[in-house]
């Protein structure tokens, strides 16, 4: 089966979610890979949400908010930008390609752009391939076992 990226999208209520809504009512087709989560503001997106999404199976995370200057809460999107730029720096430390995280400004009127962003990001993540954080963690521990239990499992009997 071909790989279909699982993408979690955090969309701000006032601009980007409304933009996504517009894409829907305008019947614009876009990649079905995104799972949209409405948040009141892109500034509500705690970096914990992003890391949690990755740790529980997301291949990519999209954060979308109002254009600079348009934030319903004045400055929430600037906060999102700062967190995003900091997250981008630490993802490689975890062995995660920073290209799996994207921040975009999408206004309520930009249904077309929402579809374009989702399509582009889906293809970008598709090229990066599956992430499988959980599987990698389990794999990393496969030899972390008690030696006598390993011998027993191999049928060589207990050594001690």
């Amino acid at each position: 089966m071909s790989f279909e990226p699982r993408i979690v999208g955090f969309l701000c209520n006032w601009c980007s979610y409304t933009g996504a809504d517009l894409a829907g009512t305008a019947r614009i087709k876009y990649a079905p890979n995104i799972r949209s989560i409405r948040v009141m503001c892109s500034g509500r997106v705690d970096p914990v949400f992003v890391i949690k999404a990755f740790s529980e199976g997301a291949d990519g995370v999209l954060i979308a908010g109002c254009h600079p200057g348009d934030c319903h809460y004045q400055e929430g999107n600037y906060k999102a930008l700062r967190r995003y730029l900091l997250l981008k720096r630490i993802l490689p430390e975890y062995g995660i390609e920073p290209e799996r995280l994207k921040l975009e400004w999408i206004a309520a009127s930009e249904g077309e752009r929402f579809a374009h962003v989702v399509n582009g990001f889906t293809e970008q993540v598709r090229r990066l391939g599956p992430m499988n954080c959980k599987g990698a963690l389990i794999e990393s521990m496969k030899d972390d076992v008690l030696i006598h239990e390993e011998h027993a499992a191999q049928g060589t009997g207990e050594r001690r």
């Binding site: 705690d46 914990v48 400055e75 630490i90 975890y94 990698a136 794999e139 990393s140």
Partner: protein, 317 residues
């Protein structure tokens, strides 16, 4: 009747054991109410002595240190079986501690660095530690060095946690008091600590936080009265549990986060990253990146004691 306890260390520096001794004259009070059945740093008991005990014989085990090799895991499981209460003592057992930072590397990378490449290594034959080795007296065995460092509760069921690197001695004393008086709270609780953020008990003056420049502690003498974070020093107070008595803060040193996350927080380090990004002043990408360039090693700074218990737990390989 005296309490039967064991005190053990996994991947630890021994600082938690010293913190127990640092209860000073109160140690005599502790000695009045407990019988110790294992304490490798201080007393000569063998694992066989513990194996000979009936299951559940020990009232409690104080386990310090992370689980980084097969011996740590084996003894953790043994003590779990022999103990009514398993208590994780200190940051390493609680959240992985400094040994947990090794999860940024693989076992292979660590062995390579330590035994083959470090500047002070002289190992022309490239000898690496072996798990089994023959000598005249017979076969010797070493524990297996694990690829991923684990917290105690990732290996055995843990009843209580006493945080800190090391835990404040008086907090160990008060936690032992809870045990002696049979007043322990519900299973899974953090004991010997507060339940609010360190900032809540910090005496420094706090106002609106906007940081325009980040400083490391050697780069500037901190103002004695103002919040460290407001001065541009990365202080983990907002994301760290109180209970340490602000030891570092009172010594003019920003909090490094050893008391671990607050209740309900899944990832102390990432939470702190969010807080740090929030209080930076710039609003444009260029300005933000300029200030982020001065944050040396952000992930290890905020997850210094909690990487092994964080959501991702290790570098993906």
């Amino acid at each position: 009747m005296k309490l039967n306890i064991a005190i053990y260390w996994g991947a630890a520096c021994g600082g938690c054991d010293v913190a127990i001794l640092d209860t000073h004259e109160k140690l005599l009070e502790i000695a009045d109410v407990v019988d110790i059945h294992l304490w490798p740093i201080a007393m000569d008991f063998k694992y066989a002595d513990v194996r000979a005990l009936a299951d559940g014989y020990l009232d409690a085990t104080l386990f310090s240190g992370a689980v980084r090799n097969s011996e740590n895991e084996e003894i953790a499981k043994l003590l779990r079986k022999k103990s009514k209460a398993m208590i994780a003592l200190g940051a390493c057992a609680h959240t992985g501690g400094v040994p947990g930072l090794a999860n940024m590397y693989t076992r292979g990378e660590i062995l390579d660095r330590v035994y083959l490449r470090s500047e002070s290594t002289n190992n022309p034959e490239g000898t690496l530690p072996a798990e089994e080795f023959m000598v005249d007296a017979g076969e010797l065995q070493l524990p297996r060095f694990y690829n991923t460092v684990k917290t105690l509760d990732q290996v055995v069921d843990v009843d209580y946690y006493i945080p800190g690197c090391p835990p404040a001695s008086l907090q160990i004393y008060s936690a032992l008091g809870l045990l002696a008086d049979d007043m322990l709270p519900k299973k899974g609780s953090v004991i010997g600590a507060g339940d609010r953020a360190l900032c809540d008990e910090c005496a420094r003056k706090k106002s609106e936080k906007t940081i325009t420049k980040i400083y490391r502690t050697h780069e500037k003498l901190p103002d004695p009265e103002t919040c460290f974070l407001e001065q541009g020093f990365i202080c983990l107070g907002p994301a760290t549990r109180s209970g340490c008595g602000s030891r570092c803060i009172k010594s003019w040193t920003p909090c490094r986060g050893c008391y671990g996350p607050l209740d309900g927080v899944q990832d102390q380090g990432i939470k702190m990253l969010g807080a740090l990004a929030s209080v930076l002043e710039p609003k444009d990408e260029k300005g933000i990146n300029a200030i982020l360039d001065t944050v040396v090693d952000p992930l290890r700074t905020v997850s210094r004691f909690s990487l092994a218990s964080s959501m991702l737990r290790r570098k993906k390989v």
